[in-house]
């Protein structure tokens, strides 16, 4: 159904002695909303700049729509970028900023006007044409930056942490609008962020990166529920990560106690890591479970409580709507499908 639009084959890139991308492979489909997620310095921005044409790879090839584009100049690619701090031109007003690319292409004047007007409508900035960009709020500048890119009708829009400078409320609003815009325009978005919540909210596909390598690619649900390793589990939401031993298929031993699970395909007695999301624990009768502990601390978080329970010397973080007082003895239960087994990370 969907067609590969961008392929990155065996890309390596270093700056000086620093290897930023290490034999990197990835393909991106048409009309996909792909998020590159990872801590700062993981190579995600560099990857974006390679696709945009601001850097060229040391090794490997970048293929766009079937053609190798390694050596194409930025303006020869059907790709536009929305920069981190917007990079709006301070000497031009809103209209001229958005019209910039069209004027460079020497389009007829009435077409420029109609396209800019249309785009301003799309980003909800009608009537702002004559405003100087320096008088706009952060959110409005963000919209101008997006408008300036999409008015050129690129096949791909690259967004480098575009919401990083906005406050929480505005960020959430823009997340929704960006997703909506992507659907309406039907173009590929490649979105870079270090904010896992943003990634989960907006993406069709998330690429989790660290130290120039892909750790996991998948749909948001899959990555959240089935993190491939400890780094991903930690990076995507809070997690309880425990040592365990896989006794047989569908049975894992934690703290020497057996638990039902839904994973299979491990060798007998393999050392594994067990991930349990804080919201997957339930309080239960202490006699009916292997996990019995004492409430150590409690924070009210609005929708839920964050409760730390000490079980046999180890701390478990639990998100629950039920109140327990500090010092209470509680039992913890968890459904087998909420116990995620991962192979041990090498380190």
């Amino acid at each position: 159904m969907s067609k590969k639009l961008i392929e990155l084959n065996d890309i390596s890139k270093s700056f000086g002695d620093l290897l930023v991308l290490d034999h990197f492979n990835l393909y991106i489909n048409e009309n996909e909303f792909v998020t590159l997620l990872g801590p700062s310095g993981c190579g995600k921005t560099t990857l974006l700049r390679l696709i945009g044409g601001f850097e060229s790879p040391d090794e490997g090839s970048i293929i766009f729509d079937g053609n190798i584009i390694n050596d194409l100049e930025p303006h020869e690619r059907m790709i536009n970028t929305c920069f981190q701090k917007y990079a709006l031109f301070p000497h031009l007003n809103v209209f001229d900023n958005i019209a910039f690319g069209l004027k460079i292409k020497k389009l007829p004047k009435d077409e420029i006007v109609s396209r800019v007007t249309q785009t301003l409508k799309l980003v909800k900035l009608e009537g702002f044409e004559e405003r100087s960009v320096s008088t706009l709020s952060g959110g409005q500048q963000q919209r101008v930056a997006i408008a300036r890119a999409i008015v050129n009708r690129p096949k791909v829009l690259l967004l480098d942490e575009p919401l990083g400078a906005l406050d929480l409320k505005l960020r959430q609003e823009m997340q929704y609008e960006l997703k909506e815009m992507q659907r309406q325009l039907g173009i590929t978005f490649i979105y870079v962020t270090h904010d896992q919540e943003e990634a989960l909210t907006m993406s069709d596909t998330i690429v989790i990166m660290n130290e120039g390598k892909i750790l996991q690619i998948g749909k948001p649900e899959d990555i959240y529920n089935e993190p491939g390793n400890q780094f991903v589990a930690n990076f995507i939401g809070e997690s309880n990560i425990l040592d365990g031993i896989m006794k047989e298929d569908f049975l894992v031993e934690i703290n020497g106690k057996p638990f039902q699970c839904v994973d299979q395909g491990f060798s007998a007695n393999e050392q594994v890591e067990v991930v349990i999301r804080p919201e997957d624990f339930e309080f239960c009768d202490p006699d009916a479970t292997h996990l019995v502990g004492v409430v150590d601390s409690l924070l009210f978080k609005g929708v839920h409580y964050e409760i730390n329970v000490i079980v046999e010397g180890r701390e478990y973080t639990i998100h629950t709507t039920k109140y327990r007082a500090i010092g209470d003895t509680v039992g913890l239960s968890v459904e087998p499908q909420n116990i995620h087994i991962m192979r041990k990370s090498k380190s």
Binding site: H75, F83, F89, H91, F100
Partner: protein, 269 residues
Amino acid sequence: MKKRLWKTRAWKALGIVLMSITFLFLYTPIIVILTLSVNSSKRAYSFEQFTLQWYVDVFRDPSITGPIVNTISIAILSTIISTIVGTLFAIGIHSLQKKSRIRMMILNNVPVVNPDIVTGISLMIIFSLLSFTLGFTTVLFAHIFFSIPYVILNVMPRLKRLDPNMYEAALDLGCSRYEAMLKVILPNISTGIIAGGLMAFTMSIDDFVITYFTSGNEYMNVSTWLYAVLGRGQSFTPAAYAYNAMIFAITIAIILFINLKKEKKGKLA
């Protein structure tokens, strides 16, 4: 509370007194020059009569018109060249990695910190070595040499204030590298370029020491001509004061113009 108020007032008074002393130091010679420019006495032991004779002489007296033409032509040429070249150098230096950028800026600042006499001698040596005849060309080179660092110093902070992605954004939107420079970078650093050019012009029009060491026997600007006349124990035509008064008037006009323009811009925004 009262004590605090008293203390603030005392500090303010000290500030005002020292500021007045500063202006006294700066403007005493200016006032003397301005009065001399309209004084009919040539030897200037006293103020005799008001005259505008010297202002006419600025354009007619051959002893001074030569040096003035030299001064202004060198100033205009060196300003144009050093502003263009300095701006390009600044953009180049700015795009270097931090370490090499700092190294270049240190080198750039050598002529700024070096006393004029050392710069003048260094230039004289290199010109002699290259067997240039000291004169117009060598003075022009010298003025370009000491102006470029000031242009760079003025342009650099503007470049730093630019969004680092601005240039790339222009490329992304379809500009060639040349277009991106012309349409995006230059308009946004224009105030720095103008300030740098203005500084280059003033440094050039005012220069004595470096011109003195690089101009040889024949070629003279206003400063070296004055020095030569004074050195012979003669007195120069008061047209020199008139020339200076005119420069002074132009300077004030430029500053007023810049400030008014800024104010107008500020009101619009």
